[in-house]
Symmetry: C2
């Protein structure tokens, strides 16, 4: 969270247009034939001129070709990019040297179409792992998309990057500051968080503020920590995860130390909306669950306990069944690897105290069960051992999740 | 695994009688009224005289009253016990001082019935967390069970410790050695491995060999590592897990350094059968999955990779759907935290090579899919980075798991 004092004069208001709400960006989403259906499967996001860029990549040891290539490209340009090209329907992961060559061809083709060097193009892919791209279709799609680039196509792009996502995720805000106004836009996809086949998480942020690459990277990392990196659908981590940010500078507002908190606040607002959209649209999900751990010794300890609870299949199934089963929450916290005194811990569900002083408050269980019947669930765990806190968002585990992932591909 | 050379003259053969196959033990299983149905819910296992004893307990920070009490008792006696009393249907966990008093009353009542000190009684409970025991019914049940103690009641005891287990788990072997013959018996329960409500893992081993407490503990720890501690249903860890061993000495065969490998081999055989029974009977399970990781730098690294794959909901749902989705296996290994070179790794499913040199062998996928349709699935991952290996067993993740855990209690 940015410093509150420095944000007194800053106002965030929702804006239309998603990824192209900020000035200086065009986009397009087309169907090129990677997906068997007629659904959109290729998107280009292009800045009108050279833009600052920052990127975060999956920490999985197995990295897809576009991840390897994009990391090289942004290292080569030291934080500058002109365009991003994204395909869905094929992850181009575990595809060896051919896969790398295909990712490079996507960058070369996009560079030719928008007028920049291949190194100024970032590439992202999502879809089935271990399958080689139909590069002829992709190249044809890039040409079609390049001709269709427009500031009005944000929604097409947001749909073109989807795989099993039940709905597109896009959001934008206008940030008014004493130094001037600028916009931040974004789109994301992901359904299992960070999942190797269908539901890799991809996120894209744009702004028309003028931001130096190092500061852009700082804002991206800081906002991702509490948004894209604070969600989990199934605890999986993909070969293809990417989060990209581009700053066009078209608003004329230059971000410095004084206005950085406003930029960060805007990044947080857009990223949170997109990240929670991913959880709400998680595979088989029917509920959004926020797990807040307070009074931990460190933020990392709070995150570790919250994440263990969030990934507990027993907690997720209990929430699905609207069962105020605090015992599963206590047991997950107890096996998280974080040391704390159970007798000092408390558990609230929907603000209702269920566990304190090592004992249940089962008389309150029916009230908590009512809360659990809603679409948004709040679980609070106090460890009683410090002053730090963290929130992790997840969704419930349902028979539909099993169906989606058990029946896929076969 | 015990030294092969020292096992040349050792022969293991299955024996009848389960936990009471070894001489010197009696048991009983009764219905005392903790469960709402007429199902058995209380068991006593008693040695005819003082026995060596060893115990392993859950590592969860949240420990149930019987765990706290049993740990104290076996510490007090320094590895001697006369009886174990177990109830199902109520975990006596998160029940505060009242819960501890109830666990102690179970020990006192059992001690009075079998003629020993309360400290010579170990107590275990499994069932719903956060609910206070109906101690009057339990005390009455202990009296009834004590009158029914018999060497012929192994199966009743194995059924009385069940919760959602679809079938009882019991096994016994006769161990013939140059020093003489002895028996090892056991029973276990558990359905979610190590689950806070219904499916805590409890394991009990008996032997009529004469074993000093320190050596009994050594055999219990060593055999648990590759059996009870090498299974996972859902990655959860309970407040109530216990594994107890008792040695009556009734066979007259004293275990020393020369015959220890035979004892360990017998413990491994019985524990493996019981542990795999827990996985086969895992909540909602339809398949037993063995995940063997080879060519790791250390055994711990091999276990960590195998465990990450075993707990991956995407791998578990893919196996359920008979989908040879090696990408999910590679991605789970890649996020396990163990460092290795993906290009050196291989993945086999049912002995069929699916991934090598960073590339898929998708032509073999239909064969692997056939293997996955069976009840027992073998997944082999070579990390290509060392000489150590480990196996973890798990089951598939099914809609039935969600149903059991989403609809329980409400």
């Amino acid at each position: 969270m940015a410093d509150a004092a420095s944000l007194a004069d800053v106002r965030l208001t929702p804006a239309k247009g998603g990824i192209t709400a900020p000035a200086g960006f065009k986009t397009a989403g087309v169907h090129c034939g990677i997906k068997a259906t007629a659904a959109l499967d290729l998107a280009i996001l292009a800045a009108d001129g050279p833009a600052s860029a920052a990127a975060l990549f999956t920490t999985n040891l197995a990295q897809a070709a576009p991840v390897i290539l994009s990391r090289r490209h942004i290292g080569h340009t030291q934080g500058s990019a002109r365009a991003v090209v994204v395909n869905s329907g094929c992850a181009n992961a575990c595809t060896g040297d051919v896969g790398l060559a295909h990712a490079r061809m996507m960058a070369v083709e996009t560079a030719g179409a928008v007028g920049c060097t291949p190194e100024e193009v970032l590439v992202a892919s999502t879809g089935v792992i271990g399958v080689t791209l139909n590069i002829d279709r992709v190249v044809a799609g890039i040409r079609t998309a390049a001709r269709a680039l427009s500031p009005a196509n944000g929604s097409e792009a947001a749909r073109a990057i989807m795989t099993t996502d039940p709905f597109p995720k896009e959001h934008a805000v206008t940030v008014d500051t004493p130094q001037g106004s600028f916009r931040i836009g974004g789109m994301a996809k992901g359904s299992g968080m960070i999942e190797p086949d269908m539901a890799t998480m991809l996120g894209f942020l744009t702004t028309d503020a003028q931001v130096a690459p190092a500061m852009l990277r700082q804002a991206l990392q800081a906002s991702a920590r509490d948004t894209f990196n604070a969600i989990t659908v199934d605890g999986e981590c993909s070969t293809n995860d990417c989060l990209f940010a581009m700053a066009s500078g078209a608003s004329g507002v230059a971000i410095d130390g004084a206005s950085y908190p406003a930029l960060l606040e805007g990044f947080l607002a857009v990223s949170r909306e997109l990240a929670l959209g991913i959880v709400r649209g998680g595979e088989g999900a029917t509920k959004l669950i926020a797990i807040t751990v307070t009074n931990a010794r460190t933020i990392d300890a709070a995150r570790q306990v919250a994440r263990t609870i969030a990934n507990s299949p027993l907690v997720k199934t209990a929430v699905h069944g609207a069962d105020p089963n605090w015992g599963r929450i206590v047991a997950a916290a107890g096996r998280s690897g974080v040391s704390f005194d159970i007798d000092q811990a408390t558990v609230h569900v929907g603000g209702i105290l269920l566990f304190e002083n090592g004992l249940p408050h089962d008389d309150a269980a029916p009230l908590a069960a009512e809360h659990l019947k809603g679409k948004t669930v709040q679980i609070d765990v106090s460890l009683g051992s410090g002053a730090e806190s963290a929130t992790i968002w997840t969704c419930d585990l349902t028979a539909e999740y099993v169906r989606i992932n058990g029946e896929y591909r076969t």
